[in-house]
């Protein structure tokens, strides 16, 4: 094996690892990583499943004045529609002309679906004895000249079909306009993409790139034509944009974290050991571990979530520890791989076992994404231990010490903390922590923290701009009501309405809007269709009256369209029991609020405006398994509550399990207590840092605590076993296992620290906290633990280690 040049091995193994990474499929569905039993998570999942259209891009245009925004939007829409095989349809704020042309079928359907009592009022207006008088009233209103929006609409709707405010629940016609801001300067267009499989984020990314190119070209032309007089800003958001960005960010994060970790670890190895051949073999081993773990992970879990992106870097940082321990100890193995495995194998195996147990304990966490990451790392460390012990060990024994090499190696300078300082810190740090806790209290979790929010995402920025422009500070929260049949859906909506009204009375909710008028109602439609049958024959009379009153053909067009639509709809009711709206605008408008899912679920989309969105009282008041709100505000609160429960549920069993394992590892109560004390010491230091620096805890990085405890135990196990082997010789232990732990700790910190630049907030904060924690564990294990070990095992032998330090040239220190 050692006759093969390491570069060749590196290239072959690197290619295998690269292939494994490229084969990884990422799931951009962020909700799979959150606790599925939380109503907020269910709300987000159902909103995504039933109402999020994978291929629907939201295009926003912002300008200084309404006219420019409107003109720009029309122009941009034309350009996008003309782009070959990119966009199949588009929907934006319509002009009166366009509403007249396309709104008739929607109005016809809404009336057919309305309460029979409301429909009867419309029919009453159309009766021969009333219609002429109503038309004359409209003409009178027009004569007044006080032209407002209502008068404008009535010029094209003389019979008042558009007076449907009572039917759809907006009595005064007010309510947020979904496509245009109040001042008209911000406009929204929904664009239906085509030509790609939008469930594949890579395909979505490619499509989005083409759309961005078309938009960029249009922006240049618009700027050239309009100059500085009408500058416009275009934003792109919606599902395809999110998918493309999240997926691309995940790929980038994984690539960068793995590459940066590998490079930094390699640099660290070079600084400490000044050798390239062992480094090459070590990198090859790490890549092999990554490839095997990805293979197993892909078979077991299928698509990897955004959190699992972090596993690779973490694994690199942990697996290299075993290789370094083997490399350091191999120097004294006399070329016998078996002897090496006997010597350090137990430490590596116990270390891997404790680390795996810690990561597997994340399965008790409420966050499925964290569980998946923990499982992958657990698999990875097990694979890592095996690969290092049986793959790298035989190679490691071939690297023998040479004098020049020793001279070039990095040396730990000094003995670190003096005995006195070790004692002071052993007592002082915990006391300082207690005082700090008294002053500042227990560190709490950040409120309103969303672990999977992607930072610096253009599509997320555009989405926030859209919410702010259209809804201001009050953002209604989407609420999904589901049922197994249409009849049940109406029952669920009615029940939801009752709960909401109660919540309004209790001050928990300011306002709620239900889509009931847009949900097909077979009962209403059957009753109204029967009434309509007698009116359909009156079309010619009504059109004649409209003309006689003084309206033109354009003024009668909407009425004609409505009667045509009604004829079709009545046929649909007779055939299928209920009719769905026809026409692009009508279908699109209804589909935004009602769907019949492929899974047989009927879903309706409403909105709720809570008084205090971050609190959970309103969620508990209105939610049932069939009606859930996609509330980000209260999700943060819910996650914090859940994580606090998890700390007890995960942490306590884990500590018990680890303590039991430590009994078998040490078989000595002093060493057991010393190991646990080191953990407590590091934790105290973390609390101090949380209190007095910018470091903070949140619902995600708090899950790193078990990881820190596991890796901290790992370091203490290695150091204590080494001290046992050499009879408590601090200098020898520090030169041998200490250097290994220095490398291990730093490399693990690098692995976690590389996540601090990840695009997901949660992953970035987890990486930072774990990097800091591991460094604290390392400093404790290398520079404090040996002193404490001697303090408790050899309290009288305070001179011996100094003599060993002076006389042993092999262990000379600068």
């Amino acid at each position: 094996m050692t006759r093969i040049h390491p570069i060749i091995v590196l290239i072959v193994v690197g290619a295998i690892a690269a292939f494994s990474v490229m084969r990884v499929k990422f799931s951009a569905n962020l909700f799979e990583m959150l606790p599925a039993d939380l109503p907020e998570v269910q709300g987000m999942d159902r909103l995504n499943r039933y109402f999020s259209r994978d291929g629907q891009l939201i295009v926003t245009v912002k300008s200084d004045d309404a006219a420019s925004s409107a003109a720009a939007m029309v122009s941009l829409e034309k350009r996008l529609i003309e782009a070959p095989k990119l966009v199949s349809d588009s929907f934006r704020d319509l002009s009166l002309n366009e509403i007249v042309k396309e709104g008739g079928s929607l109005l016809a359907w809404l009336w057919l679906n309305a309460e029979p009592s409301d429909f009867a009022k419309l029919m009453d207006r159309l009766k021969e004895e009333n219609s002429t008088a109503n038309l004359n009233q409209v003409i009178t209103n027009l004569q007044d000249g006080f032209f407002d929006q209502d008068i404008m609409v009535s010029t094209y709707d003389p019979l008042g079909f558009s007076k449907i405010g009572d039917v759809v629940g907006h009595e005064d016609g007010s309510g947020p306009d979904a496509m245009i801001s109040a001042d008209g300067t911000f406009q929204v267009m929904y664009v239906e993409g085509m030509g790609v499989d939008f469930s594949d984020y890579r395909a979505a990314a490619k499509w989005l790139k083409e759309v961005k190119a078309v938009v960029a070209e249009w922006e240049s032309e618009w700027a050239a034509d309009h100059g500085a007089t009408s500058p416009v800003t275009v934003g792109l958001t919606g599902t395809p944009a999110f998918m493309a960005e999240v997926g691309a960010e995940m790929e980038w994060d994984m690539t960068i974290s793995v590459i940066s970790t590998m490079l930094l670890i390699s640099l660290l190895f070079w600084i400490m050991h000044r050798k390239t051949r062992p480094l090459s073999w070590l990198i090859a081993a790490m890549l092999m571990i990554l490839a095997i773990t990805l293979l197993i992970g892909g078979v077991l879990f299928g698509d990897l979530s955004v959190m699992s992106v972090g596993f690779a870097a973490i694994l690199m940082g942990l697996a290299v520890d075993y290789g370094i321990v083997l490399y350091r100890e191999a120097m004294d193995s006399n070329g016998d791989a078996r002897a090496l495995r006997r010597s350090v194998g137990p430490g590596i195996i116990w270390g891997a076992a404790t680390t795996a147990v810690v990561f597997l304990s994340l399965n008790l966490s409420s966050l499925p994404g964290l569980s998946e990451m923990g499982n992958l790392v657990a698999i990875g460390v097990a694979v890592g231990a095996v690969v290092m012990l049986y793959g790298f060990a035989p190679v490691a024994v071939s690297f023998t010490r040479d004098a020049a090499g020793v001279d070039r190696e990095f040396h730990l300078s000094g003995l670190g903390f003096t005995r006195t300082w070790a004692k002071i810190l052993a007592i002082g740090v915990p006391i300082a922590t207690l005082i700090s806790l008294e002053i500042k209290g227990l560190p709490d979790l950040e409120a309103n923290f969303h672990p999977f929010r992607i930072r610096e995402s253009p599509s997320m920025i555009a989405w926030h701009d859209l919410q702010h422009e259209l809804r201001g500070d009050d953002s209604p929260i989407p609420t999904v009501v589901t049922a197994s049949s249409l009849t049940e859906l109406h029952e669920q909506l009615a029940a939801f309405d009752t709960r909401v009204k109660k919540a309004e009375q209790d001050g928990l909710i300011k306002q709620a809007v239900l889509p009931t008028p847009f949900i097909p109602n077979p009962t209403h439609q059957a009753a109204n269709a029967a009434t309509l049958a007698g009116v359909l024959g009156q079309e010619d009379r009504l059109l004649g009256e409209i003309t006689a009153a003084g309206f033109s053909e354009e003024g009668a067009a909407l009425t004609k369209e409505i009667f045509t639509s009604w004829t079709g709809l009545v046929g649909g009711v007779a055939e299928k029991g209920y009719a769905m709206p026809t026409g692009n605008l009508a279908s699109w408008s209804v589909n935004r609020l009602y769907t019949e899912g492929d899974d047989g679920v009927y879903a309706a989309l409403g909105t709720v405006l809570p008084t205090h969105s971050r609190e959970r009282a309103w969620v508990e008041a209105i939610s049932t398994p069939q009606s859930v709100s996609a509330s980000l505000g209260s999700l943060g609160t819910a996650l914090n509550e859940r994580i606090r429960q998890d700390i007890l549920r995960v942490f306590v069993p884990m500590m018990i399990l680890l303590s039991v394992m430590l009994v078998f590892v040490f078989r000595n109560w002093r060493d057991l207590l010393l190991s646990l004390y080191c953990l407590g010491f590091s934790f105290s230091a973390m609390i101090l840092m949380t209190h007095w620096t910018g470091l903070s805890w949140n619902s995600f990085n708090i899950c790193g605590l078990p990881l820190l405890f596991g890796t901290g135990l790992d370091f203490s196990i290695h150091m204590i076993l080494a001290l046992r082997r050499n009879g408590g010789n601090v200098a020898e232990a520090r030169h041998g296992i200490g250097k290994a732990l220095l490398f291990c700790g730093t490399s693990s910190a690098i692995g976690f620290g590389s996540l601090a630049t990840a695009s997901a907030y949660g992953l970035a904060s987890l990486g930072l906290v774990c990097a800091v924690g591991i460094l604290l564990n390392m400093i404790t294990a290398i520079w404090l633990l040996p002193r404490w070990y001697r303090w408790i095992h050899f309290p009288q032998k305070i001179v011996a280690d100094k003599e060993t330090f002076v006389t042993d040239k092999k262990l000379s220190f600068r």
Partner: protein, 220 residues
């Protein structure tokens, strides 16, 4: 002196270019400023008008005469058409009151809930400074025809919906507003001529509080 036809052509082209809407030039702003300054210091105004409408949805032209009172001090307005008044609209606070004396009915609407193009936009009052003007309108350009300036604008905000052009017609001698022209997106238009303008007209409080005794509230 004989003038070369090419020179005249150039002048015509130049004047067309200079007066074309969509590109406001320095001289245009001066006209606007002079008009705005004529509005300054006015506490109230009464305008009698005659309006003609060409609406695409109607087969024939229509017209109406009316009066509008605006009190700048308290922000109230009253609009009245017909003789006797067929429709009265008063407003200035959080709601608009529409009264039809002939039907003995009235409707209350939230102010701003229905966008008001055309003459109804004046219910907010005429701008009295360039900053007020620029807040509400985008100046497209100024044309001159005889003794009249036409200040072409695009209303800003929600008032611009369906309106392609809103024109203030100004007398070039005294820079007083003499009319308004409205062009709509659908091709409809409204021309309003002020037959009488009275500055600092009497606007007693009762003008803006019509007696609703015996009237029924409704939705028109």
């Amino acid at each position: 002196m004989r003038i070369h036809p090419l020179f005249i052509s150039c002048l015509v082209v130049a004047s067309t270019f200079l007066s074309s809407p969509g590109k406001a030039v320095a001289g245009d702003t001066e006209v606007v400023e002079r008009w705005l300054s004529s509005n300054g210091g006015v506490g109230s105004i009464m305008i009698e008008f005659s309006q003609s409408r060409s609406l695409r949805s109607l087969a024939a032209l229509s017209g109406q005469k009316g009066t509008i009172w605006i009190n700048y001090n308290n922000g109230n307005f009253r609009w009245e058409t017909g003789e006797p008044a067929a429709t009265i609209v008063v407003g200035g606070g959080s709601e608009i009151l529409i009264v039809r004396p002939g039907q003995k009915k009235y409707e209350r609407r939230k102010s701003g809930s229905s966008n008001s193009p055309g003459i109804a936009a004046l219910a907010d009052g005429l701008p009295q400074s360039m900053s007020q003007f620029q807040a509400k309108y985008k100046l497209l350009g100024v044309r001159k025809d005889g003794e009249t300036y036409f200040i072409d604008t695009e209303p800003k905000g929600s008032a611009s919906k369906e309106i392609s052009k809103f024109t203030f017609v100004i007398h070039s001698g005294n820079y007083r507003l003499v009319g308004i022209e409205l062009d709509m997106q659908d091709g409809s238009s409204m021309h309003t001529v002020f037959t009488k303008v009275e500055l600092d007209a009497a606007t007693p409080g009762s003008l803006f509080r019509p007696d609703l005794s015996g009237y029924q509230e409704t939705k028109f």
